[in-house]
Symmetry: C2
Subunit: 337 residues, 2 copies
Amino acid sequence: MPGRRNTRRVGIADVASMAGVSHATVSRVMNGNTTVDADIAARVRAAALELKYKPNPVGRSLALGKTDTIGIVVPDLSNPTFQAILRGLSIAAARDGYRVLIADSSEVSSEEAILAGEARRRCDGVVLCAPRMSDAELEELAPTLYPLVLINRTTESVPTPSLVVDYGQGIQELAAHLVELGHRKLAYLTGPDRSASNVQRLRGLEKFTAEFPNVELQFIPGGNTFDAGFESSDAVASCGATGILVFNDVAAMGLLSGLSQRGIRVPEDLSLTGFDDMPFARYTMPPLTTAAVPISDLGDLAWRRMREQIQTKDAASPTNYFPPRIELRGSTGPVKA
Amino acid sequence: MPGRRNTRRVGIADVASMAGVSHATVSRVMNGNTTVDADIAARVRAAALELKYKPNPVGRSLALGKTDTIGIVVPDLSNPTFQAILRGLSIAAARDGYRVLIADSSEVSSEEAILAGEARRRCDGVVLCAPRMSDAELEELAPTLYPLVLINRTTESVPTPSLVVDYGQGIQELAAHLVELGHRKLAYLTGPDRSASNVQRLRGLEKFTAEFPNVELQFIPGGNTFDAGFESSDAVASCGATGILVFNDVAAMGLLSGLSQRGIRVPEDLSLTGFDDMPFARYTMPPLTTAAVPISDLGDLAWRRMREQIQTKDAASPTNYFPPRIELRGSTGPVKA
DNA sequence: AGTGCGTGGGGAAACGGTTTCCCTTGATGT
DNA sequence: ACATCAAGGGAAACCGTTTCCCCACGCACT
């Protein structure tokens, strides 16, 4: 005997027998099918109300071939960026009656494909958030989980809707801003090596170097945490650069704190930029010059792209690039005379 | 014809016919039933592998009466506290092969019951996070979604596992700390009126007042945002108190910023406490004295309580109280002579 | 009055699995 | 050689819903 009948819940059959009709008719009434006689419909509705009947979503999903659920695979839920995307996605999807199922890969790239596949089987579509897997693996995986939206990653051969933040563009603009302020010796405090968005920043900086050959740019190994930024302050202080581009706001705040502890003033002695424009970036001392990424819009748009695929079979799906918006604040200033 | 057969996926029948056995046998093999002949099992596994067959979770859920999914209902995903709980819950549940489905009520209390009911029907259990609904409504709802874990809320008549952070205790200790430093005029910068955790802080402060009748305590309307804290700085500066208890860290940081802009020094002129110990609390200038709430443990424990209910039918379930841990940092100091 | 047609609703199949029941088959013992 | 038994696999029921198919009924028209 499959299932458990001990906690027997009220099913469509109960409503049917109470209303004296077949369960097919109950189903028609519940789904607003108008070909049902008004009297019978009323009787069914009364019975459903009295029994507090609510259709079982699992049975419904099986029959309909849809679950009204989408999955999101994130590398790490503790990352504020992914939290913001999740929030935007969840709220947007909820507006259309869809729910979001979470799968956290804990940064383990080998888990991602499995999680994504499993999520796809449970859900009507999958949002893959900054996957760590290789390009080859991604290309192979993408078609198998068709209603798919990529975030901060693109595919070459397979056409997949994709939303990418143009980190390269953002860091170029920040660097150009420093140059404009007179800085000629810059340093980039890098993010995690395996991070795709770090690679994009590096590419942006290559373009920057090509454009400004007379500006010196060095690279200092950093990280994406407050402590990583904090601990880099010695290296930064002694590198001779006057303008520091930091991987993200969190690390920049750490660096800011480390520098202030060493008596190095920002922006008088050193100019500093972050990346992300997280909520507190405007409240640090001094407020952080940074590049704002419209992340909750990202989640929102991810849902819209998903919905397009679910509703219409039309997979016309270009990549959307999000150019960050530069926020000029107090952590950057003219180079010291 | 239910479902869509256009994108026909490989089912158990395909594996069965390829392996030359009945689908019942395939099911037995897939579920590790040992009563299957080794040769046949190997043949089935080979077929499944070649066809890349993975059991359909929806069909499986229908037959098994379980979905390996739990739902979480939160008032607002943009709140860092709920994000942390979600993260802890999601990671802990994933360890046991469970996924988490999100339902965001957007602070609309009337939506909560509906969302929770719907989530329960889709999932094997529900975590209700700081529900805004009335006590009466909660009592009525609780039994209908039996495997239930409450966070920051308790029930009276219905026994329900419940995890509550003892905000009252935390703020009492913070207040006592200020008294110890010599402060005799305190002020509490309140949180949102409708917030249950604000009410708990107020109750804690009542006890505090009873215990320290010679200490003056006044209440200043505040909020839970940085800007609310910032804009309260005038009221705080002119209230005459020397020790300020702020609803949470975010508002405390706003207040800190507003005070520093007015030239009021912390802790020399004014002592300040926050609440939550969010990641940046230790990095403000000065670092914030606050009460640490072990929120990701909360998510972790929520899953453990949930698992107890799902696995054993034993609903022995006391309320767990989490006393916050006081973090003494630089934002509090001896009262000015 | 008989036939044609439209409509509403019941029966049954389908969705994709799991599990029970029962029968077959092979082995063992006498 | 026959009876008994255990093991293993197939048929069918079941989970809860939607939808197709078809029948019965009523109405209008010839």
